[in-house]
Symmetry: C2
């Protein structure tokens, strides 16, 4: 089978054709410009590639409620040109095939849960820590949407006692994204994460915030596996520090076989940069099956 996948980000759109077995047959990317320019370009790309269904993982916030009149649209977003832009509809109309739709990070969670680090679980979380912080959550084997979709980057945290930085989020003085995403690191230390690799105090504070977010996830969602993706996590030296702090913050309260072995509970992704498009392909397969 040939399944289309579109991972829509604020700076670029990744387009791909995948198989039902999680192989990527072809992959391209184009810059994200205005919808009137970018959407037709993407449609043309897929038109030439004879796909049976399309899965879209898009930057948010987006409307996922199928009974809403604006289902399949980007809603209110800081990327102003895309505010209230229908995404699903133009692809359905132009391609005449089933189109699945979810957030970019939910798609990545589905990719890792199907073919990657969290495969074999029914309850997993994919956290991406990069320009922002996003959470994709799979609960009872299904992507969790709820009222809107998770916005876990904005959970509220206790400040690190040595951190005087005021946070980078315009909405919340002490949310995870505002304290731990790439721009917060750069703003706090005056350098990019990659240039701070050997500065222990940087990763001590980073691990403190990410660990709190993980502990709150464990307490509220009880996942079987937590996958840490995104550009900041390329600084893999922070991962053992995160595990250590999670253990300390849990304080021995919970006892499960998974928590006895945090090395295989809190892990890095396995699909390199393909978790997003592969998750889109899986969502498209599910959409085909449910029609």
């Amino acid at each position: 089978m040939r399944i289309g996948a579109l991972e829509g980000g604020g700076t670029k759109m990744v387009l791909a054709v995948c198989t039902e077995n999680g192989e990527v047959l072809e992959r391209a990317s184009i810059p994200t410009e205005e919808p009137a320019v970018t959407i037709p370009r993407m449609i043309d790309w897929f038109k030439e590639r004879d796909i049976e269904a399309l899965g879209i993982g898009f930057f948010g916030p987006i409307q996922l409620n199928r009974s809403a009149s604006d289902y399949g649209s980007v809603t209110k977003t800081p990327k102003l040109a895309w505010t209230n832009t229908p995404v699903v509809k133009p692809f359905e109309e132009a391609l005449g095939i089933p189109v699945a739709f979810d957030t970019d990070v939910n798609a990545a969670a589905v990719g890792e849960a199907t073919w990657g680090a969290s495969r074999g679980t029914e309850n997993s979380i994919y956290i991406t820590i990069g320009t922002g912080v996003g959470f994709g959550i799979i609960s009872n084997g299904k992507v969790l949407h709820g009222m809107l979709h998770p916005e876990g980057g904005h959970i509220l945290l206790q400040k690190h006692p040595k951190d005087t930085y005021q946070g980078h989020c315009p909405f919340h003085p002490n949310c995870l994204e505002g304290l731990a995403a790439g721009p917060a690191i750069e703003d706090r230390w005056g350098k990019k994460a990659i240039e701070l690799a050997d500065r222990d105090e940087v990763w001590e504070i980073e691990a403190f915030y990410v660990a709190q977010g993980i502990v709150d996830c464990i307490m509220l969602l009880s996942p079987e596996k937590i996958v840490l993706g995104g550009g900041v996590m390329h600084q893999t030296q922070v991962v053992p520090m995160i595990r250590e702090k999670v253990k300390k913050m849990l304080g021995g309260y919970l006892s499960t076989s998974q928590l006895d072995n945090l090395d295989s509970y809190i892990v890095l992704p396995e699909l390199n940069d393909n978790q997003g498009i592969l998750g889109c392909a899986k969502l498209a397969l599910d959409e085909l099956q449910n029609r």
Copy 2:
């Protein structure tokens, strides 16, 4: 139909017979003593009442994984006499009917989502704030278990700037339960919650902690409705304070019709003290249907 319901707490067991429409036909309670005393007494009560299925909501932690050898047991618990005690098995053997099993607070969440304040939603949270703090979570129309079950009372919070109290939880210096459950209030102020009803500073701090917990729930789980139960919430003057702080802490970040009207989003239970047993009855009905 006659459906049995058992809400198992640390101090008392509530036994009931309900109908499939959410009526309570009969209700009794007995003190929680040792399992060897209490379990046979409960079995005798149900034996005389000709029930078709039994739903049990029990204090935790409990084993909910059906493929585990100790499925249906209380596991490690501070109520030492009940450590590693099978609960489902003796009822199944003595009564010969389907037995459903979940946490007490998940049962309450199911009760309110079926016949109470959160009916009509697929994603809701029931938070009980009393001797402890418990979270029952329904996601995609199903009770959320995950690796174990939610222990949302132990999410980690930022301390209130005026609160010098060190917390009541032996595991975590700054978890919701340790800062906001009944024993924490009594320990912080030297009086029981009910005697502190007119002290604004008490409820200012309480609302600050509960609101943080709710904001984290909204960000991670995106519920369509949040129901606040438990003895501390009998101090209903705190509920508008909680809503106000939730609004402030959200900072206008999310936009949904539900969040535009917090009076009908964060609500009190509607089933009085019957949400637990009615939820047990619903779990028993589901168990019957799935056999």
